[in-house]
Symmetry: C2
Subunit: 413 residues, 2 copies
C-alpha cells in the first residue's frame, strides 16, 4: 500500500477545532487506502511561549536543556491529534521523534538527522494504524533529546517520506502554496503550480517561509515530490519536484525576503592567506551559520570582511569576531541588525545576463541603497535597510512582471 | 559522598522567580558537599491545563496518548530548573523519567515503577553534576512513555532515594509539614514533628495531600527517611520514619478528609458465592481502584453491595456495574458524587477500643449522618455528605484534642 506523509504546521493545530479538522483530513486520506504518516509541529505559539519561559530564567540557556524544553511542544501536538483521530474511530498511535527512530547528531538546537530506523513506523502502519510523529526532534545514539532548529518539522516530514519511500510528502500550511512573493507585502503575488527543487531551495533559504531549505535538500537528494498546500481547502497547491528542461527556462520565478539577518563587518585585517579561514572556522566551531560573505580590498595590504548571520546568532558571532580580531588584528568591528535580504530567484537567470542589472536598477530607482550583493546561478540577493523591504519587494515583483503570470509552466523564457 | 533526593511540587516551580529560588536551595545543598538528585513536578496548573486540552478534543482520550501528553509537564519543569541552576554556575543535567532509568509496567496513567537503573544518574553525580529528574513518569521496557498517576512525583522521589540509597528524601511543599488536619479547615491544626510510615500511609491514602501513599509504601519498604518540609523556609518539617514503640502509642495523630470520592450501590444481588468476586474482578480489570466496600444482607438471600471509587473513575465504574448487573441480577444501581470520607488516624488506636465510638459520637452530635464505615488497626473512616466535611473535621479535631499538642512525641497515650 502506498505511503503518504503529511505535515501540518503549528497554525493548523493551534486549537481543538483545527486539530479536529486535521484529524478529519488525515482519516479521509487513510480511508482512501493510503498508509498515512503525519508529522506535526508545536501548536500555534507554543514554541515561542516555551522560549519566553526560558528567557525569564536566563539569557543563555544551555542548548541541551533548550532542546529538552522545546521538544515538549511537538509532543503535546501529537498526543492531541492522536486523540482526535481515535475519536473518529480510526486506529492511531503517536510517536516522539526518538520513538519514531529518528537519530541525529549531537548539535543541540540545530541537530541534523543522521539516520531513520523505520521499523516501528512500518510495524504500526502494517497494524492498520495512522502514525503521528513529532516533528522537529530526534535523539542522539546516547538517547539525548535534540531538536532540528527552525523549520525542523518540514525536514522531519521529507526525511521520513524519503526513508519510507512515500509517494508524496504533503506540506500543509496556512497558504495555498508557493507564491511569486509574500502576498502580505504584494497583493498581486501569484501561486506557482510547480517549482524545481533548486528554485525552491533558493526561495526557502531566502526567507519564503513555506518550506525549510533543509527539507528541500532532502527532497532533491532522494527525489521526494513535495506538495505544498493549504490545510484550509482541497485546492492543488505547489508541487516541488524535478521539472524537465523546457520548464526550467523561466527567468525569475519569485521574490524572497528575509528579515532575520544581521550584518557584521571587521575592518582593516591583514591581507594575507588564512585570515578568512581563521575567522570562519571559529564561527563554524560555534555552529553559527554564516550566509553572505564579502571580502574587499580597500587599501594596500588591508582588507575589510563583511558577512551576515541570523539575528539569533549576532551576539555570539560578535564575540567570536572580537576574539579573532585580537589574534589577527583589525581596526574595528561594526554590526547592524536593521538590515534585510531581498532576492530574486529563477532557473532561467543563468542564461539571461541582464537580470541582475535589472534588479539593481529597480532598487536604485526606488532610492534603495544596496549594502551587499551575492549571486548564484539561479538567484541574486541584496542586503538593504530593513525599513525598505516592502518597497523593494513590490518594485521587483513589478519589474519582473510576476503578477501577470498564472503559473510557472506558462512562463517560458 | 552522601546522596540527598529533593522533590519540589508544582507550586514550588510555578514561575521563574520560584524556580530560581528552588535552584538556589538545590545549589546550597550541593555546596554543603552532598550529591543532589532533584525530582520536580509539572509547574503550577500545567497538568490541569493539559487535561483541559485533551478534554476539548475528546471525553475519553486513549490512556497511552494521555501519558504522552501529560509527560510534557514535568519535562518543561526539569529543563527550566536545570537552566536556573546552570545560571548559578553549578554543573547540572536534566533527565526525563525514561532517561533516568525508571522502568514501569504498561498500565498507562497509573503505571507502577518496576525497576530503576541508576547507572546514568550515578555517572552524572560522579561527574559533579546536580541531576534533575522528571517526576511522575517512566517508560515500559518497550520505550512507551507512562505516568504514575496522582502524586506520582512523590513516588519517583522516594523510589529514587531507595534505589540510590540516599540518606534522606526531602519532599518540599507549600506547607511546613504534616498537620493534625487541614489548616485551611481547622486553623488550630498543629504540625507533627514526626510520624510513622503506617500513620502517614493512612493519612496520605485518606486525602492529606502532602505525600502520595505509594511513596510512603516505598519509604516503609526500603526504610527511606522522608522529610516533608516547606520550600518557602528552612524550618524543620515532619519526619516520616519508623519510630520506636514508646512513640507509637499516640491515640489519634491526625484527621484526614478526601473529597475525591464517589459512592456506588448495587441493590438486591443474589446471596451466593462469587458475586463480589465477579464485580470487583471486572472493576480491577478496568484498573479502577475501589476503596471502601460494604456488603450487607438486607433480605433473605439478597444482598446490597456498596463501594467507593475516585470521582474520575465513577462513569467507568458505573458502566462496569451495569454490565455485571445484567449478568448476575440486581434490582438497581445508585451512585452519589456528593460524598466525602473523613478519617481519624493514630497508631495508638488499636489499644484504645473507645476511639471509633468517640468518633461516631462526635459526628452524631453535629447531626452528621454516617453512610459507610471502614476501619483498620490505625484508622477509622466514615463516608458522609460532602457538604458536612468542614464541620466534621473541626468537631473531630476538637474531640481528640489535637490543637493542644505541639508535637507527636509528647502525646504519649
Amino acid at each position: 500500500m502506498a505511503i503518504v506523509v503529511q505535515k501540518y504546521g503549528g497554525s493548523s493545530v493551534a486549537n481543538a477545532e483545527r486539530i479536529q479538522r486535521v484529524a478529519g483530513r488525515v482519516v479521509e486520506c487513510a480511508r482512501k487506502g493510503k498508509h498515512v504518516v503525519v508529522v506535526v509541529s508545536a501548536r500555534g505559539d507554543t514554541t515561542d511561549d516555551l522560549i519566553s519561559l526560558a528567557r525569564e530564567i536566563t539569557n543563555e540557556p544551555p542548548k541541551r536543556e533548550m532542546d529538552m524544553l522545546l521538544a515538549t511542544g511537538e509532543q503535546i501536538s501529537i498526543a492531541l491529534l492522536a486523540m482526535a483521530i481515535d475519536k473518529l474511530g480510526h486506529p492511531v498511535i503517536s510517536l516522539t521523534g526518538p520513538q519514531a527512530g529518528i537519530s541525529t547528531d549531537a548539535v543541540h538546537t540545530k541537530a541534523r538527522i543522521q539516520d531513520i530506523n523505520t521499523r516501528r513506523i512500518r510495524d504500526e502502519l502494517a497494524g492498520g494504524k495512522i502514525v503521528i510523529v513529532a516533528g522537529f526532534q530526534g535523539a542522539t545514539t546516547e538517547g539525548e533529546i535534540t531538536t532540528l532548529g527552525r523549520g525542523g518539522s518540514d525536514t522531519t516530514a521529507v526525511a521520513l517520506a524519503a526513508a519510507l519511500d512515500a509517494e508524496v510528502c504533503e506540506i500543509y500550511t496556512d497558504v495555498d502554496g508557493v507564491y511569486t512573493t509574500d502576498p502580505r507585502i504584494e497583493p498581486q503575488a501569484c501561486k506557482l503550480d510547480s517549482i524545481s527543487y533548486d528554485e525552491m531551495l533558493e526561495l526557502a533559504s531566502l526567507g519564503a517561509q513555506v518550506l525549510h531549505p533543509r527539507s528541500v535538500e532532502y527532497g532533491k537528494q532522494y527525489g521526494v515530490p513535495i506538495h505544498v498546500r493549504s490545510s484550509f481547502n482541497h485546492n492543488r497547491g505547489t508541487m516541488v519536484q524535478e521539472v524537465d528542461k523546457m520548464e526550467k527556462v523561466m527567468m525569475v520565478s519569485g521574490i524572497a525576503y528575509d528579515l532575520n539577518v544581521a550584518k557584521i563587518a571587521l575592518y582593516d585585517v591583514p591581507d594575507k592567506p588564512g585570515i578568512a579561514f581563521q575567522l570562519f572556522e571559529q564561527l563554524a566551531k560555534e555552529s553559527i551559520n554564516v550566509d553572505m560573505i564579502i571580502q574587499s580590498s580597500m587599501r594596500d595590504e588591508r582588507n575589510d570582511i563583511s558577512f551576515t548571520v541570523g539575528k539569533d546568532d549576532l551576539n555570539r558571532a560578535v564575540a567570536v569576531v572580537q576574539k579573532v580580531r585580537e589574534e589577527i588584528g583589525g581596526t574595528g568591528i561594526s554590526y547592524d541588525e536593521k538590515v534585510a535580504k531581498v532576492s530574486i530567484v529563477g532557473a532561467g537567470m543563468v542564461s539571461n545576463p541582464g537580470v541582475a542589472a535589472s534588479m539593481f536598477g529597480a532598487l536604485a530607482q526606488e532610492g534603495i541603497n544596496i549594502q551587499m550583493i551575492s549571486t548564484s546561478e539561479i538567484k541574486v540577493s541584496c542586503i538593504i535597510s530593513s525599513s525598505q523591504v516592502q518597497q523593494a519587494v513590490r518594485a521587483l515583483h513589478k519589474t519582473f512582471d510576476l503578477a501577470a503570470v498564472p503559473n510557472v509552466q506558462q512562463r517560458i523564457g
